[in-house]
């Protein structure tokens, strides 16, 4: 107890700095993955993508990031037995942040396919097993989270498959794809706007202190969806059928219409990513803040302070500005396979899955979900070639990342424990 009260401000500063470091790492590498499809399909330039990512990542983190933050903050560790030594939890959370941040830095440097989510979960579980005891881990919840890592790419794949098949049926495989694109694309825009705003309204707003009823939520979501659709429709109507472009590739004009849709889904994707992955950095910070704030009390029901979410948002945006554009440039150059019609289907499916997971409080990997969605589009016969070895790499990254994050966290945990006692 005394340790916490004595070092209260130091712990808060450390938590803030480590959280910022982690968020910076997420912004520098992970966000680029989320935006890769948009840049790769040439629907957005890198600058536009960064601007969209900055705004919507931030919005997603603040508006809809609370639920996942709660899971990471107190869902994984059963802190019941720590009432006498709350400082252990503080060391642990700080160690987890530092471990996951470092691991991300190393892995990104080497180009390994790691997930920020897996790093932080591995780190937290790792320090909990060694630092507190194997019984301290809420295995039921962890099992649920791990299961969601398998399910989320699958779900995104199924949704993407369905969306792309509907696009084929309604637009691409018809006599007049351009007219049909103008007719149906606004509906997809509405779907994207409706889905994102609904999850935000239902799950997000109570974290920032707004209470709404179910009917209000649905009607607001419909209104927001319609508004976004109207804006999209305005831009779509300005696209004209370009005869010269169409000579070499008949679907050039059609893809331009999908380009508008792609901008909307890029926003949705950034929002979804913000709502889920920011928690990886913010969750442990929130845990430290709540312990320090209640002077050593554990498990107290405290409202998540907004400034914690702001730190996450700010870290991501700085990381993105400093390094994200480099990553995006390489990704953008490599992905030419992705036309807007395919990219939007993948993004919409992935964003839907991620936002749903955010609403349920499940920390999942945005990138893996997006990979699942891209495969779904491919299975709908929409992609010319997919490299399936990536799937193997993803499984490998699970096997390596979880223990790596855990071991690093254990080292930092004992280091911190040694320094303060």
């Amino acid at each position: 107890m005394e340790i916490i009260i004595e070092n209260a401000s130091l712990f808060l500063i450390l938590a803030g700095v480590f959280g910022l470091f982690m968020a910076w790492g997420i912004g520098a590498n992970d966000v680029a993955n989320a935006m890769a499809t948009s840049v790769g399909s040439k629907a957005l330039t890198i600058k536009q993508a960064i601007l969209i990512a900055a705004i919507f990542e931030f919005a997603g983190a603040v508006l809809a990031g609370g639920q996942v933050t709660k899971t990471i903050r107190k869902g994984i560790i059963d802190a019941g037995g720590l009432a006498a030594t709350p400082e252990l939890l503080v060391y642990g959370m700080l160690a987890a942040l530092l471990a996951a941040g470092c691991w991300l830095l190393i892995a990104s440097h080497k180009g390994w396919p790691v997930s920020t989510t897996h790093s932080i979960i591995g780190a937290i579980v790792g320090f909990a097993i060694v630092g507190i005891g194997i019984h301290a881990v809420n295995w039921g919840k962890v099992g649920f989270i791990v299961a969601s890592w398998v399910i989320s790419p699958l779900l995104a794949g199924v949704i993407a498959f369905a969306i792309f098949r509907s696009v084929q049926k309604l637009i691409l495989d018809t006599e007049n794809p351009f007219d049909n694109a103008k007719k149906y694309v606004p509906i997809y825009i509405f779907m994207a706007g409706f889905m994102i705003s609904l999850v935000t309204l239902v799950k997000g707003l109570k974290h920032i202190g707004l209470e709404t009823t179910a009917i209000e939520n649905y009607s607001y979501a419909v209104v927001i969806g319609l508004l976004i659709m109207a804006v999209g429709k305005y831009f779509i109507n300005r696209i004209e059928f370009d005869q010269s472009l169409n000579r070499s590739f008949h679907y050039a004009s059609v893809e331009k219409v999908f380009g508008v849709l792609m901008i909307v889904t890029a926003c949705a994707m950034a929002f979804a990513h913000g709502s889920n992955d920011v928690a990886n950095a913010v969750g442990p910070v929130a845990a430290v803040v709540s312990i320090v704030g209640s002077e050593g009390g554990i498990g107290q029901k405290s409202v998540l302070p907004i400034w914690v979410l702001l730190i996450g948002g700010a870290g991501i945006v700085t990381g993105l500005m400093m390094y994200g554009h480099k990553v995006m440039a390489t990704v953008g150059k490599k992905i030419t396979e992705l036309t807007p019609s395919r990219g939007f289907a993948a993004e919409l499916a992935a964003a839907t899955t991620v936002v749903l997971a955010s609403g349920t409080g499940l920390p999942i990997s945005t990138t893996h979900t997006l990979v699942g969605a891209v495969l779904g589009v491919g299975l709908a016969r929409g992609m010319a070639a997919l490299n399936l070895t990536v799937i193997r790499n993803i499984f490998m990254s699970w096997i390596i990342t979880l223990p790596a994050g855990g071991i690093l966290a254990i080292l930092f945990f004992f280091a911190l424990k040694g320094i303060f006692s």
Partner: protein, 226 residues
């Protein structure tokens, strides 16, 4: 921080563009048969040799493209079109250029002179064979559209129409080929026997250019059947 990323890794190199580039090269090679035979008829052996060299060089370039494409289709690649189908089409495309090279090599090697009686028909014949390869190229050019639509709907109908046209062109070449053979048969006793035999061989090899072009279309048609 390193600038590497695995999101982009999932997109394998698309085989569609290289396939189209290969067919383009093949057609470029085949289309030289027209100036080649014009030179043969004019008995301008310098020009014949130069054109033959160009044909041979283009065939080589097509070979290089073929090998590159083959190496870029690893087993782990998931494609809309099965790997085997694609590689088979590629082989057939390549054989179109091979046939053109055979014809040119045979004629130059033996310094063959076409009998006056079949000269005009032969030019028509060659032109029609080149048309067949042109039509095969146009059909392969639709591959990216087929991928876009997932091998469904109106695009499939369009490609099927193109394949029909290709078949018609090939039937034309068969007709001209029969006519030339008949004429050659009438005069073959007046020719040195070896000369006549090789003449038949050249006719057959020229016709093969159209045959192989048609096979490109037929093989593509198998992809559309579902």
């Amino acid at each position: 921080m390193a600038v590497s990323n695995y999101m982009s890794g999932i997109f394998g190199n698309s085989p569609v563009k290289p396939m189209q580039m290969h067919m383009e090269k093949v057609h470029e090679c085949v289309s030289l048969l027209v100036p080649f035979f014009e030179a043969v008829l004019a008995e301008d052996w310098k020009k014949v040799e130069k054109t033959q060299q160009k044909i041979s060089a283009l065939e080589n370039e097509a070979d290089v493209l073929k090998k590159e494409l083959r190496l870029n289709l690893p087993k782990g690649l998931f494609m809309q079109v099965s790997r085997r189908d694609l590689l088979e089409i590629l082989t057939i495309q390549d054989s179109v250029a091979n046939k053109a090279k055979d014809v040119a090599g045979l004629i130059l090697g033996r310094k063959m002179v076409l009998p006056k009686q079949i000269a005009n028909d032969y030019l028509k014949f060659v032109q029609r064979c080149v048309d067949a390869s042109a039509q095969a190229k146009v059909t392969i050019d639709e591959l990216d559209e087929l991928v876009e639509t997932g091998f469904r709907g109106t695009e499939v109908k369009l490609v099927q129409k193109m394949i029909k046209t290709l078949d018609k062109i090939e039937a034309d070449t068969d007709k001209i080929q029969r006519k030339i053979r008949l004429k050659l048969f009438e005069i073959e006793n007046d020719m040195p026997p070896l000369e006549a035999m090789f003449m038949y061989k050249v006719i057959e090899a020229t016709g093969d250019v159209a045959d192989q072009s048609q096979r490109v279309g037929s093989r593509l048609q198998l992809l559309l059947a579902r």
